[in-house]
């Protein structure tokens, strides 16, 4: 199988998962699609030399996301509290609140949380993707969870216990 065929196969098989990760990282459909395309484009030159394709593409995805946030942050303002929600269905509200809460995390914290709790990466795998130490992953994860608890109703109490370290994703 040629490298091109291998790449096309990977795109077909994993672009959905990558888009989900990208959506949580960006909170925006268009940005998520753009982020995945950029990551795939950047992965092409070294595709034949990389053994583990998915971690490699995910690493590009996360770094590109952080870089974009740095470039855009001067245009964005963050608030300490989430806006009041209009009356909608509770599921939609919960998603909106969670998405906005994620958007209020620092980009590295957001990446740690998404990699750990959506993609089920271990702390070591998360550290490898982000290029930081495991200790940094732990501290970023702890701070991000604490902030999410304050921003997202229902993550306190029982829900909070669900996202405690004891309920951390299964180690792969």
């Amino acid at each position: 199988m040629s490298a091109a065929d291998d790449f096309e196969e990977f795109v077909v098989a994993r672009s959905g998962a990558l888009l989900r990760t990208a959506y949580l990282l960006t909170g925006n459909h268009q940005d998520a699609e753009d982020l995945v395309q950029t990551a795939l484009l950047k992965a092409v030159p070294r595709w034949g030399r990389v053994r583990e394709h998915e971690p490699y593409v995910r690493r590009i995805l996360v770094h590109e996301s952080v870089s974009r946030w740095r470039r855009r942050r001067w245009r964005e303002t963050s608030t300490e509290s989430l806006p009041e929600l209009a009356a909608r269905s509770s599921d939609v509200d919960a998603r909106l609140v969670l998405r906005q809460a994620l958007g209020m995390l620092a980009p590295r914290q957001r990446a740690v949380i998404v990699l750990r709790y959506l993609d089920d990466l271990t702390e070591a795998q998360t550290a490898d993707v982000l290029g930081v130490s495991v200790g940094t992953v732990k501290s970023q994860s702890r701070d991000a969870l604490a902030r999410l608890r304050g921003l997202v109703p229902g993550l306190d109490g029982d829900a909070g216990a669900d996202i405690s370290d004891a309920a951390a994703p299964r180690q792969r």
Binding site: L41, V44, P45, A159
Partner: protein, 427 residues
């Protein structure tokens, strides 16, 4: 109660499901190619710039090859004297006889500059700072260009104390020093060569000023029995010294013979230096005021004999006497451009070495000595009677601090350009 994982999975259901557009592989390959070409271009431009900067530095600091001369290695004055760069190298060994010595700033990486003496080889025209141990201040160059007298000094640059005399042999590299134990700074005046291997000078010590004669290589200076004033010039081994108004004294230091002479000048003030012709029969001086300048020549007369000094009708501006080529031709440095060196906003004041026929007043230019600094040059006066020669211009090294800064700056600009370029390349 759902876990955060479940909530994230639920939120991720909103993620777009659109398949990635086709052709990403080809687009990625094209982009990688463009990126490689762009990177190579930036690297190439940076390397070219670095090479250019380095090449300019090397070119400016390179020493031109010696000029093959019809007259072989016969010593001669250069037909043009260049202002020396402060970054010229120091002569690695004795340069041989020098035709010209130029006081110049010697630049340093960290401490600004110090004064030094640049010698111009009489045979190759090569410029180099002379290696003068404990150099304090310049002294005269002997007429044959082989011996250079200078004052030695001690202490920091801005608070240096002159403590002795030294003579540098430009042929052997040997330095002969004399450091008297005075308990106070050296106070030597009228330091002058008599012949090419002996110095005369006056020195104030213990409240009195005494005259000394120092034959190089024959021990310490010895007191002279007669007092010498300021030197007018030398003729052979005799020196003509001013000892009072109109009163002069010929002193043949080798034989200690003294002849008192009288020279009556039409002006009360005369510029120095003056000069005695090689035969000792003619003396020349310049009279300079703010409004005009005059060149005067007269025959040296015995004491009691009145001699009328003659004004040479030569078209010269601000002549400074260098010496006589023979009993007919006088060599002067004169202003070659219309404005004086002190004219406001005038950067073009040029000076030239001129040969003046004292009988007719005709003037021939024999050497360009640059701007006003050229009037501070000391010449091997024994070469005044020879033809000047064209020598290559000395190297003009780029300030190494600037060169290093440019190289570093170019490298940084190249690196930044690479980083910016890599960041700007987007899908």
């Amino acid at each position: 109660m759902s876990t955060l994982h479940d909530r994230f999975v639920d939120l991720a259901e909103e993620a777009p499901a659109s398949p990635s557009p086709p052709g990403i592989w080809d687009d990625g390959r094209r982009k990688a190619r463009r990126q490689r070409v762009g990177t190579a271009a930036v690297v190439a431009v940076t390397l070219v710039a670095l090479t250019a900067v380095g090449g300019v530095g090397v070119h400016l600091s390179s020493t031109p090859p010696p000029v093959a001369s019809r007259s072989g290695s016969a010593p001669a004055l250069p037909s043009r004297i260049y202002e020396p760069s402060g970054w010229l190298p120091t002569s690695s060994g004795p340069p041989g006889p020098v035709s010209v010595v130029i006081p110049a700033h010697r630049s340093h990486w960290t401490s600004g500059y110090t004064w030094g003496l640049v010698g111009v080889s009489a045979t190759s025209g090569r410029y180099a700072f002379l290696d003068l141990p404990d150099y304090g201040s310049e002294g005269p160059l002997s007429s044959d260009g082989q011996h250079l007298a200078y004052y030695t000094g001690t202490g920091p640059r801005h608070d240096q104390v002159l403590d002795g005399l030294a003579v540098y042999d430009t042929v052997t590299g040997r330095v002969v020093r004399w450091q008297p134990t005075l308990g106070r700074p050296l106070n030597v005046q009228n330091l002058a060569w008599t012949g090419s291997d002996a110095l005369t000078f006056t020195m104030r010590a213990h409240g009195t000023r005494s005259s000394y004669f120092w034959r190089i290589g024959y021990g310490a200076p010895r007191p002279l029995m007669v007092h010498i004033g300021s030197l007018v010039g030398t003729a052979g081994t005799s020196g003509l010294y001013s000892v009072g108004r109109f009163r002069y004294r010929y002193l043949a230091v080798g034989s200690s013979s003294v002849a008192n002479v009288r020279i009556e000048w039409p002006y009360r003030t005369l510029a120095t230096p003056m000069a005695v012709s090689p035969s000792g029969r003619l003396v020349a001086a310049a009279h300079l005021t703010q409004r005009h300048s005059a060149l005067l020549v007269g025959r040296v007369a015995q004491s009691g004999t009145r001699t009328k000094m003659r004004r040479v009708d030569a078209a010269l501006q601000w002549p400074v006497i260098v010496g006589w080529a023979d009993d007919r031709y006088l060599i002067v440095v004169a202003q070659a451009s219309p404005q004086g060196y002190d004219a406001e906003g005038n950067d073009a004041a040029r000076y030239a070495l001129e040969r003046v026929d004292v009988r007719t007043g005709s003037v021939d230019r024999i050497s360009d000595v640059g701007s006003y600094w050229g009037t501070t040059v000391d010449y091997a006066t024994g070469l005044l009677r020879t033809q000047t020669r064209d020598f290559p211009a000395p190297p003009d090294p780029m300030d190494p601090r600037l060169e290093v800064g440019l190289l570093a700056g170019t490298a940084v600009v190249g690196a930044v350009a690479l980083v910016i370029r890599r960041r700007r390349v987007r899908a």
